[in-house]
Amino acid sequence: MWKWLHPYANAEFTYQFCGKSLRWFALLTLLCLPAGLIWALMFAPADYQQGDAFRIFYIHVPSASLSMGIYAAIAIAGLCSLVWQLKLADAFGAAMAPVGALFTAMALITGAFWGKPMWGTWWVWDARLTSELILLFLYLGIMALHSAFEDKAQGGKAAAILSVVGVINLPIIKFSVDWWNTLHQGSTVTNMGKPNMSIDMLWPFLLSFLGFFFLVAVLVIIRYRTELLARNSMRPWVREIVLNSQK
């Protein structure tokens, strides 16, 4: 049933395909992200309680959300690597981890800068903040394991195991605001599918979210192609690419 997918599990095809799709993702990023953030900074209304500090929301929520989504993707790739020995999945996990770490750091940093004026503190050890910090440590752990071994396959296996084991953190982050009495507020955007936000805030939020999503794609594709080359350096297709790229 999945035979049509098999040609795509080929490193050379993936490398070329990602190379071609990169410019489209880059274009989409440049269309959506600056527009979304400028809309958020200049045209979206200020919050009636939080004033203009609320504009931090337009980076904070997309990056937090994507930090979890990226981790889920790494965990799935880790599973594919462990169960089906797919080497592409190892490369993919290695490529995504730094991007995920960046987005987690952005969520924590924007959260701190938002928390200081609103809650009066840069940090508090509540459930959501702590579990997001643990997510950052998981990302750093995955990155460390990938680079700790001379043999990339061994590093990939260790990192895949960590990524799968750490997946438990994702529901903890997501439901922390419901399960515990936390300082971090509950869900702002979604409420049974119908957003709580006013429409003139929802649009810049969605545009920013889309922009950040495409940014993830750009960063991951660049790193994924690097990983593919590094992990297949002895193959003839790599030799051809490398010798032909005279820069």
Binding site: M42, D52, H60, L102, M106, I109, L219
Partner: protein
Amino acid sequence: MQFESFSAFLAMGGYGFYVWWSFGLCFALTGILYWDSKVRHRKTVEAIRSKILREQKLKKVAQQQNQI
């Protein structure tokens, strides 16, 4: 436009420090990762290329040795 003047825009209703530092740090960190990704790609290509060229050179030397 939500702000009457550029200085009002920078002030962000009194929250300017928090808004601009958070946006600025995120922009800087993203830029660093983007730059690192591109540099790493270029360095990987160069490393593989020099490995191949060195291999070819060694092979050529070995062939010459055999001929002698």
